[in-house]
Subunit: 433 residues, 2 copies
């Protein structure tokens, strides 16, 4: 029998992670299922950023590079993120954006591949990967005389792991479908084929357990503003397997990646290890906010850590699927994410079957008007059967509860059953992020 709201309330009451929600000020009346796009504001952030502005910048001014440790932030926060992705202190730094960090590691990977296996000239990724990853790879393929080959389905992956492959570049959890790669298995297979592997952890870090070291991965990048709650456009992170870190320059050789930046020497000498992946001066306000966000995830360490968060995430997603199918399947709702939890990140995507296949945008707008914030991702208008419009819902176990999942599905039911989504105001298109 489908679970009731009371059942969900009991799950909330028994939830040992529930206290973590008090780290955030969520707007009243909102069920926020878009933490996979922009995480929410931690309570600690506003006062911390005020302190950085008023005391560290306003009062102590230039001294704060040393006295407030601004210069150490990229490494300090990188170490904290390292605890979430299975790497040691000193292996990860915060810097720039995911796009730029990907540029750094893919450049390094292509240099390594050229040195070790000059005949390998393919970068393989998925056509459904987040576009910025593909754009950066397209740029570097041009530069390095490599070729970017895109596969259309994960079924094509085994065949792509061949003697032409230089670098396999994947986002572990697909931003649209939520499909999750088995990092250890894919890495091992790519290594067996003689290739290097780059993982984009944009939808992984802070969302589920990641063990880069255990998987013997080569490179990873990830996003600060999704599950890490770092704030809009928060700086990103970058990790390089220590065995590769000093083999090559990354090309964005800014002064803070220099071995001795304050000696102001005219020649570049890359810093040891991961610090050479820092480029220019870090944006301190945004970086300080990121640290507060990362701390909200680390706060779970005393309560079972990422394993406990993942367990709750799976439970939330499974509850959502169960309720959405029970209540809304007859109204056209279909699951568009993998059903198997081990193949799914912390999000669930739904689509609408014919004759409602075009209604997704308006349905999401109607949900948002009711305070249920998810997002819409357009499908391929010429073949909606294969690539449908998507209603995307992210479940962040730090601050989402079971009764909220129940309520979200009830809103979805109401929007569809009452045909509320047909109201004209829900059909105005705006930029979608």
């Amino acid at each position: 029998m489908t679970r009731t709201r009371q059942d969900c309330q009991v799950l909330d009451d028994e939830d040992t992670l529930r206290e973590l929600r008090h780290q955030f000020d969520l707007p009243p009346g909102v069920i926020y299922l878009d933490g996979n796009s922009l995480g929410v504001l931690p309570r600690a952030t506003a006062s911390r950023v005020q302190e950085v502005m008023q005391r560290e910048w306003g009062q102590d001014l230039i001294k704060s590079w040393n006295t407030a440790g601004w210069i150490d932030l990229p490494g300090r926060i990188g170490d904290k993120i390292g605890r979430l992705i299975g790497v040691k202190p000193g292996e990860c730094v915060v810097a720039d954006s995911t796009s730029l960090n990907l540029y750094k590691v893919l450049s390094a990977a292509l240099q390594m591949a050229r040195a070790d296996a000059p005949k390998r000239r393919l970068i393989v990724s998925e056509r459904s990967n987040f576009p910025t990853d593909l754009y950066i790879a397209e740029s570097l393929a041009r530069q390095h005389g490599a070729e970017l080959k895109l596969i259309d389905s994960v079924d094509e992956l085994p065949a792509a792991l061949n003697g032409d492959l230089a670098v396999l570049m994947l986002t572990q959890v697909n931003y649209r479908s939520g499909f999750m790669h088995d990092m250890a298995a894919v890495t091992a297979a790519a290594h067996a084929a003689g290739a290097l592997v780059i993982w984009d952890l944009a939808h992984s870090a802070g969302a589920h357990e990641v063990d880069l070291s255990g998987a013997r991965a080569d490179f990873a990048v990830g996003c600060g503003y999704k599950y890490l709650n770092g704030g809009p456009g928060a700086p990103a992170f970058v990790w390089v397997n220590p065995k590769h870190a000093e083999r090559f320059w990354q090309p964005l050789s800014g002064w803070l990646g220099h071995a001795a930046p304050f000696q102001f020497t005219p020649n570049y000498q890359p810093a040891p290890g991961i610090r050479r992946y820092i480029a220019g001066t870090p944006a301190i306000l945004s970086t300080a906010a990121l640290e507060c966000g990362v701390d909200t995830v680390l706060a779970a360490e005393a309560l079972g850590g990422m394993a406990a968060l993942r367990k709750k995430s799976v439970a939330l997603c499974e509850l959502f699927i169960e309720l959405a199918e029970a209540r809304c399947a007859s109204l056209g709702i279909r699951l568009s994410s993998p059903r198997e939890a081990s193949q799914r990140g912390s999000q669930v995507c739904l689509s609408l079957a014919a004759p409602l296949q075009e209604a997704g945008y308006a349905v999401m707008q109607a949900l948002i008007a009711r305070g249920v914030i998810g997002d819409f991702r357009a499908g391929d208008p010429r073949r909606l059967e294969q690539v449908p419009h998507i209603l995307r819902f992210g479940f962040t176990p730090l601050y989402i509860g079971y009764a909220e999942v129940f309520d979200a599905v009830e809103h979805l039911h109401a929007v569809l059953a009452s045909e509320e989504w047909r109201r004209p105001e829900f059909h105005q298109q705006g930029a979608v992020t």
Copy 2:
């Protein structure tokens, strides 16, 4: 006769720009002569960043990309900076760091040079340029089969403008000496030699009048956290002459430089014009703070704008030189910046003659202890006569007054006359920024 403190007080009373100082909360008891390294906190910034955090992020969450105009910030602030550097709306954007923006424009310039004049393979810059510029050029020279040639003196510049030159890359105002290039004359000479010119405006934007369009410059980058008061590590800006902007990709092809980022297409299609120089998602908190800083400079527009600011800057610098030489020359102080105002940015550097040539660091520490914040830049220990240790003082006419200049020199006199700088605590070395 040397001016008295009362003379300086009169200058302050008559200063039509004096009201601009009320835009800032300066710490009490501090004479801040380091705005060329990190500008001060504008009063508007703290409340603006609070609003971005609490309302835009905390309450409106993901919607703020549209409703709060986050997506437009790079262009909106770029347009504001454009008013300070002599370019039209739509020609300048804010993004990333100075280092990364330099990477973008130098890549584009080298592609252009390769297409138009394949035999030209030299990038010329000054050995005394800020190191990050040289490190980025070193990286790109490797990539493009070009060569970075460094000149040791501006006297070598004419000879360097020859048929081998592809790109001349200069910082208009030298970070150490304060020497200012004549942008129009140098650009014209480089163009006459068939080369492209990149200007780094790190110590120019907001400090003095800049007319990129009038000089027919090719590319420019600049810093948000110095004279623009954008906050520590604030995002930087980038300008490309519209006639070049669409000729080539810049290689950091992140999704927000795409012509239609929200269509999520797998192939990169660069945005028209300068927007292709945006890469990844902007760090919104730091970017919002930058806008407040830029606004503090634009506030001068009603009072004569950059011309009036420059006039005051020259007056402050000349007063400082006059007083420092009158009071401290006999104590070993020497001018290490150009004496001629037209060859000097908004800073003045002093050095110490023998036998005090090693004392610079301790003298600056003693000044800082007295609340006079400048900074120290080490010379070349093997040839201090030619490259002395430098005491660097920046004069930001938005918030520095004439009496403060007088007081700063009196403190310098006291530190030297009393040999206060010999106290052991002033000899402990820390990281210098």
